[in-house]
């Protein structure tokens, strides 16, 4: 890097995109959407044993205005789907979504008329987690996948 050698020690150059994505990916605050038993594992994911604060996602915000990642944990009924979509619409862009567990991903064992067969019927899901319920490690894995996804995005647009 020619510029760094010209500036001497203590400087490094990078792209604005990389810097912004680095910041965003390490501060992805979850919006907990705990609908069923998966929510217990989601709490363990935030707790001291699995310690998701290592990845900057320990701040569970119960306000959609302050959160970046919605974790849909549990089965979603048709009645609840409207509330979830409304909260999702209130989250500021950019935002990501994790469908946690078999029920949120596909309806799971709730194969019946009252349960939406997968929240991707009305939400743009970025990461699906298998398991019933998934271990907290699996939720961390999904979060890391989302971090990887954030790091490849083009965050800064040239306003022409």
């Amino acid at each position: 890097m020619g510029l760094e050698s010209a500036l001497g020690e203590g400087y490094l150059t990078t792209r604005v995109d990389t810097l912004v994505n680095w910041a965003r990916s390490n501060a992805a605050w979850p919006m907990p959407m705990g609908l069923a038993c998966c929510a217990i594992e989601m709490m363990a994911f935030a707790g001291p044993r699995y310690d998701v604060s290592r990845f900057g996602s320990e701040v569970f915000r119960f306000s959609p205005r302050q959160s970046d990642v919605m974790i849909v944990a549990g089965w979603c009924s048709y009645k609840m789907s409207h509330a979830i979509r409304r909260i999702w619409d209130q989250m500021p862009d950019p935002k990501w979504c994790i469908a946690m567990g078999a029920c949120a991903s596909t309806g799971g064992m709730h194969r019946c008329y009252g349960v939406v067969q997968g929240v991707d019927n009305f939400l743009p899901v970025d990461a699906y987690i298998s398991g019933c319920p998934p271990r907290p490690d699996a939720v961390i894995h999904a979060l890391m996948d989302i971090q990887k996804k954030i790091q490849t995005e083009h965050s800064v647009m040239l306003d022409t």
Partner: protein
């Protein structure tokens, strides 16, 4: 299977048969319970009679789709006598076409929500019910989910999903 009935229950059943005669259609004892099937016309008078005899507590009202050509629907009232510590199931069978039966809310007010639930799931109308609205399904829903002909995953598109584009402001 030989069944040993308690004296209290035996007395109640004998008195019930002598009082109501052929309105009591069938008494049988599946797996240790006592089911008394009665004629739907006599349901209210029998319910009032049982209430006087101590069956003051209604634990549940259950609907069943028997899926038979005659008397397709069954409504089962799970009654409890706290004094005699006895449980008794009162059963009525209803036809497939326009199933309706008198509401027992005048005898046991607690039956209000139970009957609403049976109405919601099976479409059985309870005549004289003070507030026969659906319990779980949307109020304008056209189907009865626990009937046997209802598909497992429901009727596609019958319950609305939220739109996937945000509402414009």
């Amino acid at each position: 299977m030989e069944q040993t009935l308690s004296n209290a229950l035996k007395t109640t059943l004998d008195e019930l048969q002598t009082t109501f005669g052929e309105k009591v259609l069938q008494i049988h004892h599946p797996s240790g319970d006592t089911h008394v099937r009665v004629h739907p016309d006599a349901l209210i008078s029998i319910a009032e009679w049982l209430h006087e005899k101590g069956y003051i507590y209604i634990s549940d009202v259950i609907g069943t789709d028997r899926y038979q050509s005659s008397d397709r629907f069954e409504v089962l009232y799970n009654l409890l006598s706290l004094r005699a510590k006895q449980r008794l199931f009162l059963v009525v069978w209803l036809p497939e076409e326009d199933p309706n039966v008198a509401s027992v809310t005048s005898v046991w007010p607690a039956a209000n929500w139970y009957e609403r639930e049976v109405y919601d799931m099976f479409g059985i109308r309870f005549e004289g019910h003070p507030d026969l609205r659906r319990m779980y399904m949307p109020e304008d829903y056209a189907y009865y989910p626990l009937r046997k002909e209802f598909p497992l995953l429901g009727i596609p598109g019958s319950i609305e999903l939220p739109g996937t584009t945000p509402e414009s402001d």
